[in-house]
C-alpha cells in the first residue's frame, strides 16, 4: 500500500495515520549492520502482534569494498494487521545508508515511497564508487519519492560525544539511529531492542549503552523536529489465539530435527560441512548439545554424509545438511544409504546455481538433482518445506518417513525461507507426532533383509545387540538374507523392491488439498517456498473477481495419491517455479498432463504481482 501523506493531527504533533500494511527495506554496506537492524524491527513488530514476513538479501562477499554496489546488504520486512504471505513486492520505505544502497534498491521502491538517506555518506568519492555522475540528492532524479535527508553519522557522533568509545566504534552505532527513527515513524516501542542490546553486550556495557543512546537520539530527533509530517501505526493482526514466536526457516529446521529426535527417542547426529545457506543449521544444532545432539564438522561433504550413515547404523538419527554443490558430492553416500536401507535425512537448502552459482541467493533448481542425481535406480523420498515455520513440521515428517520405511529422505528448503522469518504459532509438544521406533532385538529367525509386510522396511538391528551380528554394504543384496548376490533375477527383484518400498509411502501421506473450487479452468500448483507468493496472488485474483484454485505440494516423491485426480479436474494447470520447469517435467512424465510453467531464475523469489499477472492472463483480466 502507499503510505498516506496526511493523517489525524493533534496540536503541535505530527499527523498520525493507521495503515494496514507496510514494507520497509533497510539497505547499506555489508558492514553497516542492516540484517541486525531489520531483525530488531521484525522482532519488535512481532511482539506487537503484527503478521510479518522478511526477506534478507546479502552479498556473497563478507565485506566487499565499502561503498560499492556489490557490497550492498539489504533486509526487507513487511508488517501487517492481517494475514500476509510474502515480504511484499515493493518497499514503501527505503533506508539507504550510502549512495550504493540507494542506487541498488531504488528501482524496487514504490512511487511516492519514503527514502531516508544518510547524507554524510553522499560524498563525491562515494557517489563515484556507486556509479553516480551527479548527486541524486541534488538533481531531480528522486522527485517521484518523499526524500528525507539525515546526517546520520554526524548525529551519531554528536549523541556519543561523552561516550568512551573511539570514533570508529561510535560510527558503527549509526544503524541504531536509523532504527530509532523508523521505530518512531511506525510507532514501535524501543524496549525489546534495549533488552536485547543489554543481553547481547552484557560483557561490554559501553557498547550496549552507546547503541541505546543513539537509538533514542533517532527517536527523539523525529519526535522533536518536524522531520516527518506523518507518523504511522500498524495494528496487531487478528492471528489465531495461541503462543507465537518469530522464526527463521533454518532455525525451525534445526528445532524440528531436535523435536524429531526427542519424539523418536533417537539421538540426533548432524554431519555437515560449512556451506551457504545451510551453515546456520550446523551453527544452531551445535548449541543444542544438551539435547544429546552430536554435531560433526567434517573434512568435506562426503565425510559429513558418510559419518551420518555410520551414526544411523549405530542407532542414531543421522542427518546431513548442505546446499546443491554439497548434495552433488554426497550423491554416492546417499546411494549407499539407499542400498543398505538405513534412515538418513539429507537437507538441501537450495541456492542459485549451477556450480558455485549465487551462494546467497535463492532458487528451486535442485529438484531434479535430488530426484535423479545418483547412479542407477535410486528411489529416495523427497519433501519440500513451504515457509520458514513449515520447516519444523517438514523435519518431523522427513524423520517419520525415514524411520518407518528405513530409507534416506531428502528435505528441500531454499535460501528464501531459510533466512526469511515469519510468526510461528508454537505447537504443544504432546501434539507432535509420536515417532517412537523399536530396534530389532529378537535373534530368532533374524535376517538383515527380511521385511515388514506393509512398509517393506527391513529391520533396524544395531551393533551391540547379541545374536544379530550381520554385514551390510553397497554390493547388491540377496533378498531376505542380505548376502552379496549377483544373480540377474535377484537384482531385478531388488531394484523393483526398493522402488516399491518408496512408492508405498503414498499409503500414509495426506492427500493434496485444493484451495478454492475443486474443479474448473485454472489451478495454480506450487511446491516449496513459492507458497507465499502464490497464495497472495490467488487471493488477490479472487478478490478481483477471477475464478482460480490453488494447491501446494509437500510430498514430491511419492506424489500424493489424489494428485492425478486434482490435475484432471482443471482445464489448465500453472506451475510457478524458481527453475526452468522441473516439477512440470515430473508431472508431465508421470501423468501425461499438459502443465504450464512459469519460470523465474533471478535468484529472487516471485513477487505476488508477477504471479497475479500470469493468472490474469490465463483466467481473463480483472472484471
Amino acid at each position: 500500500m502507499t503510505l498516506p501523506i496526511a493523517g489525524q493531527t493533534a496540536a503541535g504533533r505530527a499527523a498520525e495515520a493507521t495503515v494496514s500494511d507496510v514494507v520497509i527495506r533497510f539497505a547499506g554496506d555489508s558492514g553497516d549492520g542492516m540484517q541486525l537492524t531489520g531483525t530488531q524491527f521484525t522482532n519488535t513488530s512481532a511482539l506487537i502482534g503484527n503478521d510479518l514476513s522478511t526477506l534478507p538479501d546479502f552479498p556473497a562477499e563478507i565485506r566487499a569494498p565499502a561503498g560499492t554496489l556489490p557490497g550492498v546488504s539489504a533486509f526487507q520486512v513487511r508488517i501487517a494487521d492481517h494475514d500476509i504471505h510474502t515480504p511484499g513486492d515493493a518497499p514503501d520505505v527505503l533506508v539507504a545508508m550510502n549512495p550504493a544502497a540507494l542506487k541498488a534498491n531504488l528501482r524496487d521502491l514504490r512511487d511516492n515511497g519514503v527514502i531516508i538517506v544518510n547524507t554524510d555518506e553522499f560524498t563525491p568519492r562515494n557517489l563515484k564508487r556507486a556509479g553516480y555522475e551527479s548527486n541524486p540528492l541534488e538533481d531531480d532524479s528522486l522527485n517521484a519519492f518523499r526524500l528525507y535527508q539525515v546526517a546520520l553519522t554526524t548525529m551519531t557522533r554528536r549523541a556519543l560525544e561523552e561516550s568512551p568509545l573511539d570514533v570508529r566504534s561510535k560510527d558503527r552505532c549509526k544503524n541504531f539511529l536509523a532504527l530509532g527513527m523508523i521505530y518512531w515513524l511506525f510507532s514501535r516501542p524501543l524496549e525489546s531492542t534495549i533488552d536485547w542490546l543489554r543481553v547481547k553486550f552484557r560483557r561490554r556495557p559501553e557498547i550496549a549503552e552507546a547503541n541505546v543512546k543513539v537509538m533514542k537520539a533517532g527517536w527523539n530527533f523525529c519526535d522533536i523536529t518536524d522531520a516527518f509530517q506523518v507518523r504511522y501505526d500498524v495494528e496487531p493482526a487478528q492471528l489465531e489465539p495461541g503462543i507465537y514466536r518469530s522464526i527463521h526457516g533454518n532455525s525451525a529446521l534445526a528445532i524440528g530435527l531436535v523435536a524429531a529426535s526427542r519424539r523418536s527417542g533417537l539421538p540426533l547426529f548432524l554431519g555437515a560441512y560449512p556451506i551457504t545457506p545451510a551453515s546456520d543449521v550446523l551453527h544452531e544444532l551445535a548449541t543444542y548439545k544438551h539435547f544429546g545432539v552430536t554435531t560433526y564438522q567434517a573434512e568435506d561433504e562426503i565425510a559429513a554424509v558418510c559419518a551420518a550413515i555410520g551414526a544411523s547404523f549405530g542407532g542414531s538419527l543421522g542427518v546431513s545438511c548442505s546446499s546443491g554443490p554439497g548434495i552433488a558430492l554426497k550423491a554416492e553416500g546417499i546411494n549407499l544409504a539407499v542400498m543398505v536401507e538405513l534412515p538418513l535425512i539429507i537437507c538441501d537448502i537450495q541456492r542459485g546455481g549451477p556450480s558455485t552459482g549465487l551462494p546467497t541467493k535463492t532458487e528451486q533448481a535442485d529438484l531434479l538433482q535430488v530426484m535423479f542425481g545418483r547412479n542407477n535406480e535410486s528411489p529416495v523420498p523427497v519433501i519440500a518445506a513451504s515457509s520458514p515455520a513449515n520447516c519444523f513440521d517438514t523435519a518431523l515428517e522427513a524423520v517419520r518417513m525415514a524411520t518407518a520405511y528405513m530409507t534416506p529422505v531428502i528435505l528441500l528448503s531454499d535460501g528464501y525461507i531459510a533466512n526469511g522469518a515469519e510468526p510461528w504459532r508454537i505447537p504443544q509438544v504432546e501434539e507432535l507426532p509420536d515417532l517412537r521406533i523399536d530396534f530389532h532385538q529378537n535373534a530368532e529367525g533374524f535376517m538383515p533383509y527380511m521385511r515388514d509386510e506393509r512398509t517393506l522396511a527391513r529391520p533396524w538391528a544395531i551393533p551391540g545387540t547379541p545374536g544379530l551380528e550381520h554385514r551390510i554394504g553397497g554390493l547388491e543384496k540377496e533378498d531376505v538374507t542380505g548376502n552379496v548376490n549377483y544373480e540377474p533375477e535377484n537384482h531385478d527383484h531388488m531394484v523393483r523392491l526398493r522402488a516399491e518400498k518408496v512408492a508405498r509411502i503414498v499409503n500414509d501421506i495426506p492427500d493434496i488439498e485444493v484451495d478454492g473450487p475443486a474443479s474448473g479452468k485454472l489451478l495454480v500448483l506450487g511446491w516449496g517456498s513459492t507458497l507465499g507468493a502464490i497464495t497472495g496472488a490467488v487471493n488477490q485474483a479472487r478478490a478481483d473477481g477471477l475464478t482460480v484454485s490453488r494447491a501446494h505440494l509437500w510430498h514430491i516423491n511419492p506424489f500424493p495419491r489424489n494428485l492425478v485426480d486434482v490435475l484432471d479436474r482443471f482445464e489448465r494447470v500453472l506451475v510457478p517455479e524458481m527453475n526452468l520447469g522441473q516439477l512440470a517435467l515430473l508431472l508431465r512424465a508421470r501423468y501425461l498432463k499438459d502443465i504450464e510453467t512459469y519460470s523465474k531464475v533471478e535468484g529472487k523469489p516471485f513477487t505476488r504481482d508477477e504471479i497475479l499477472h500470469r493468472i490474469e492472463d490465463m483466467a481473463g483480466g480483472p472484471n
Binding site: 496487531p236 487478528q238 507465537y244 548439545k289 565425510a303 551420518a308 551414526a311 554385514r471 553397497g474
Partner: protein, 352 residues
Amino acid sequence: MPTTEAPALTRKDFQSDQEVRWCPGCGDYAILAAVQQVFPELGIPREKFVIVSGIGCSSRFPYYMNTYGFHSIHGRAPAVATGLKMTRPDLDVWVVTGDGDALSIGGNHLIHTLRRNVNIKILLFNNRVYGLTKGQYSPTSELGKRTKSTPHGSVDFPFNPLNIALGSGATFVARSVDVFIPHLKAVLKRAAAHKGSAFVEVMQNCNIYNDKAFAALTDKTGRQQNGLYLEHGKPLVFGDNKDRGLRFTGTDFEVVQLGNGTTADDCLIWDEKHDNPSLAFQMASLSTGDGLGDYPVPLGVLRAIDAPTYDAGVIDQIEQTRTTRPQTLDQLIHGTDTWTVDAGGNVHRGAN
C-alpha cells in the same frame, strides 16, 4: 568390557558363513586368520565389534568376520567409522582398507581421522597395486612401476603410509607383514589396546598383480637380514645373529656392524613414546619397506603416545552441557521472545 562371565570366544566364533573369495594364495587370508585369532583374546563380546571397510580386495574383509560389519564406499570407511564411534563409544570399531582406498580416493578422510584421534583401529593392507580393478599402479607403487595403466613405467613418486600417518599426528603407528603371523598378531593386540586412532600398515602380497613385492623382506633370509623389529626401550639391532645395529649420528641413522668393540649399547634405544614424531618419521623413511634398500625395514610399533580422543571429547561436551544447561523441548521450541494472542484477539508479550 563384559560385565558377566561370558563363555570364552574362539577363532571359530569370528568366522562367518560366507565363502572367502580372495584369489588363492592372497596375503589377505593370513591377515584374516590373524584377526580371527586375536579378536577372541581381547575380552570383548562379539556383538561389540564392528568392522568398516571401503572398496577394494581388502575391503571384502567384513563379510568374512562374524561380527557387525559395514562394506561402505570407496575411501570413506574412516568417515563412516567416525560417525559410528562418536555416537556409540561402547563399540570396538575397526577399519580395514587398502593402499588405493586409504591413500588415494580416501586420503582426506584418513588424515583427518588420524588428526582427530578418533578411537578406532585402521588396518591398511598395502600390496602396492590395485587388485580389484585388475592391476593398475597405486599411490604406494614404486617409481617406474609397469602396470596396465603405466605401460612405460609410472613417473610419480609413491607415498610412505607410515609417514602419512605420522605427519597426520597419529597417536599409534605400526607396521607388520601378512606372513609374519606371530608378529602381526602382537601388533594387532597392541593396536587393540591403544586408546585413540591406531594405524597399522600390513605389507601384503598380491600374488596375481604384484607377486613377490616384499619377497626381499619375507623370504627365508630376508626375515632376519632385512627386518628391523622395533621394541620400546630396546636398542636397534637386527640381522642374522643380531650382528648389526642402527646408530643415530644426530642427523641420520647409520648401520653399524656389532663386534670389535661396537656393542648394542652404541645403538639407539627405540622410544615409541617420544612426543616429537620426527625420529619416528626418520625411521619410517629409512627404507621403502620392501627390503631392497641399504637399510632394514622397520617393523613393529613406531609410535604409541597417549592423547585425548576426539570421540571422548565430543561426548564430554554433550554430557557437561546436559547438566549445566537443562532445558525441555517445550522451552527450546518457545525460545526467548514469545507473544500470546488470547481468545479476544488481544496481544501481549510472553507465553501465558
